[in-house]
């Protein structure tokens, strides 16, 4: 039945796109974008409430909006999009029919029902427990049930992905090893299995507890296991968006990985070590030894950080090599100046690489240092950090590849191309501001998830420094900028998908979105001459210097705090 399934051949890449796969990718991507729109709107409401001069929402609505914001963008937007990426990286890249499309649709349905159920629970008002839902605070049973259904659906999708890999191997639809992007997707999928298993282990008993069938859940145990899901799911994002970086580099300028071995090795480090990061959330909790904290928080000798630092060299390196090969060889940064900055797929990817490294990456290592966590835990520094990873890194990268998904998978011309050119910058700079100012306010001690930092209704009084209030105002202003960027994205994508001009074969030939130079962008290995990439060397040197300086500055801050032991 399945082997004579219908497909079309993409006129730009020559890849087989099976119709069953295409429909699944489209459905998952569309739903993802809807949740991005909803969750983004809640995010704006949160930022406007935390802007002291505006203080938009009343307290109960603020905590509700914050819970919805976390669930909708951190979980639903990203996971639906990642499922689309998994189907693309398996079925499309390997020229293979998708395994068990019915199961894939079942998974999709469960995810959608779960996501809607959790949203209903939150909007009803009885489940403002934040994304983390720490016990013994209790949400409505259907909040947990929604998350469980969502996780089961995601697990089914991950197994459809693995099944597709098996079919591709058996039917010899590709030669040799899988492409690097598929390898990255496999990394994401393996971490996802671990993540979802942790989620099941903790959410199922919590659900039973909310029904009154279990009478106690230990709060420290809950945090350990919950973060096995909560933090690992962010590592799924990292593996997925790094794959997206490589994919966009290849599609827009024909970039080829400098070394398959190095890039794959870096992904392997993710598989082996990223899961230890649950510890990042337990560094100032009782009942856990320092030895456990030091080992786990550092991903065992920072080996997963090493993986990211390797990608931080090999992604810009691949781009520089491709650009030099295309003739942009002037000076150290001529290749960068001449890069296709007007192409939102490229600019979004480039911004994502740089800002994920400098903002999300460095702040994450500092925040996750056992002792430094004492001056940052649960302050606004934490959301500052993860907006640097999940928004500047993952969301920006996913938005960027959407500009290729629309013409290639939805086969629609992009509407509002001028706005699209500006969109990654609007959104990127807005989100950059929110990250930086939240980190700034957090360094001044301002609490996260807090409705009123003036403590107007408290019995006692305390004043945060005036600079903190300034930072919260700036955070609000940049959140508005990011929202304008976000709305632009939604308008462009939804407009193009539903009202855009159909892209036929002639249009693809006349105005290709995929770089047509082929894969020979880089000199092959074993040739006599050494690749010269002075731009990349300069970039990673600046990065390393910033990393070291910022790391020691924070130890200095810590050293000024009251002695503790």
């Amino acid at each position: 039945m399945a082997s004579n399934e219908q497909y079309r051949v993409c006129p730009e890449t020559g890849l087989k796109v099976f119709f069953s796969t295409e429909k699944l990718i489209r459905a998952n991507a569309v739903v993802a974008v809807v949740f991005l729109a909803i969750g983004g709107l809640f995010g704006l409401l949160v930022a406007l409430t935390r802007w002291p001069a505006v203080h938009l929402l009343p307290a109960d609505m603020f905590y509700l909006a914050l819970t919805a914001h976390g669930a909708d963008v951190l979980l639903f937007w990203i996971m639906f999009f990642e499922i689309a990426i998994l189907y693309f990286a398996s079925s499309v890249l390997l020229n293979c029919r998708i395994a068990a499309p019915r199961w894939a649709w079942t998974g999709f349905g469960l995810m959608l029902i779960g996501a809607l159920m959790a949203n209903v629970a939150v909007l009803q008002g009885g489940s403002s427990v934040m994304f983390t839902s720490y016990v013994p605070m209790m949400a409505a049973p259907h909040f947990y049930l929604g998350l469980i259904l969502f996780a089961v659906g995601a697990l089914i999708a991950v197994f459809v992905f693995f099944g597709t890999l098996v079919i591709a191997k058996q039917e010899n639809t590709y030669q040799g090893s899988v492409p690097l992007v598929t390898f990255g997707a496999i990394t994401a999928a393996i971490i996802a299995v671990y993540t979802i298993a942790s989620g099941a282990i903790i959410l199922v008993p919590t659900f039973l507890w909310s029904l009154g069938l279990i009478n106690n859940i230990d709060s420290v145990m809950y945090k350990v296991v919950w973060w096995g899901m909560g933090h690992s799911s962010q590592q799924v994002n990292v593996a997925a968006h790094v794959s997206v970086w490589y994919a966009i580099g290849a599609l827009t300028i024909g970039a080829k990985p400098l070394s398959e071995k190095v890039s794959r090795g870096a992904f392997l480090l993710y598989i082996l070590f990223l899961q230890l990061a649950s510890a990042h959330h337990l560094l100032v909790d009782p009942g856990i030894s320092s030895e456990w904290k030091v080992f786990n928080t550092s991903y065992a000798l920072y080996l997963a950080v090493l993986g990211s630092m390797i990608h931080g060299m090999s992604v810009p390196g691949a781009i520089e090599a491709a650009q030099r090969r295309r003739g942009f060889t002037q000076g150290v940064f001529g290749w960068l100046r001449k890069a296709p900055w007007g192409n939102p797929a490229f600019s979004g990817m480039a911004l994502s690489v740089v800002m994920f490294g400098f903002i999300g990456g460095i702040s994450g290592v500092v925040l996750g240092t056992e002792q430094i966590n004492l001056i940052m835990h649960n302050t606004l520094y934490v959301p500052g950090h993860f907006h640097g990873t999940v928004v500047l890194g993952t969301t920006l990268a996913f938005m960027a590849i959407t500009y290729l998904v629309v013409p290639l998978i939805f086969q629609k011309e992009l509407m509002f191309p001028k706005l699209a050119q500006w969109q990654p910058f609007l959104f990127g700079i807005g989100a950059l501001g929110t990250s930086l100012f939240m980190m700034g306010a957090g360094t001044l001690g301002v609490s996260r998830r807090h409705w009123d930092i003036t403590f107007a209704d408290a019995t006692l009084s305390f004043d945060y420094p005036p600079t903190a209030f300034l930072m919260m105002g700036l955070n609000g202003i940049f959140a508005i900028l990011a929202t304008i960027g976000g709305i632009s994205f939604i308008v462009i994508v939804v407009g193009s998908v539903f009202f855009g001009k159909r892209r036929d074969e002639a249009a693809c030939k006349a105005n290709p979105v995929v770089y047509q130079g082929g894969g020979e962008a880089v000199a092959s290995y074993g040739s006599e001459h050494e690749l010269k990439l002075p731009g990349t060397i300069t970039l990673v040197s600046v990065f390393f210097l910033a990393f070291v300086l910022y790391y020691f500055v924070n130890w200095k801050y810590l050293a000024e705090v009251w002695p503790l032991s």
Partner: protein, 181 residues
Amino acid sequence: MALTPPENRLWWKEPLQKMEITWISIAFLWGLFMFAVMIYWHINGQQNLSNEAYRVNPETYGQKVEAEAEKYTVREEGDTGIPVVHPPAGSDVYMLARLWEWWPILELEKGQTYRLHLSSMDWLHGFSLQPTNINIQVHPNYEMVVTLKPTDSGEFGVVCNEFCGIGHHTMLGKIVVVDKK
């Protein structure tokens, strides 16, 4: 391309370039260094979180905090009715977290070392001492003991920085540090 199978089927046998080897070595050594710094700080640093914690029943803990407060209360804070407790210098001092207060107010002496006990009566709370900026997670059923030495005098706010329900933003306590008499 990254979207196609590697051109060289034996990609794992390709030699590494100098730039790659150098960067991987630097990144690896930097990781080892950062790992070592955390251990170094445990030996020579002044700011390390204690591992001392006990299982405790919230009721028992509450009774203990109240007994200590009764012994050492020196005054009430304004007209709030909250006792200000001044325990002997260098002793064990107790504070509890509950919806939505930190209780009682502690008065400590500058330059003295105290063993501060923290636990929650109900949900999770976040002990955030400001502006000195020390942040510790407080759980129910766990009594954490932190040794600390105030090095500045003045009034310090204890903000709750773990979301604990609708009154979370009103949960504010205080530690007063006085110069030694």
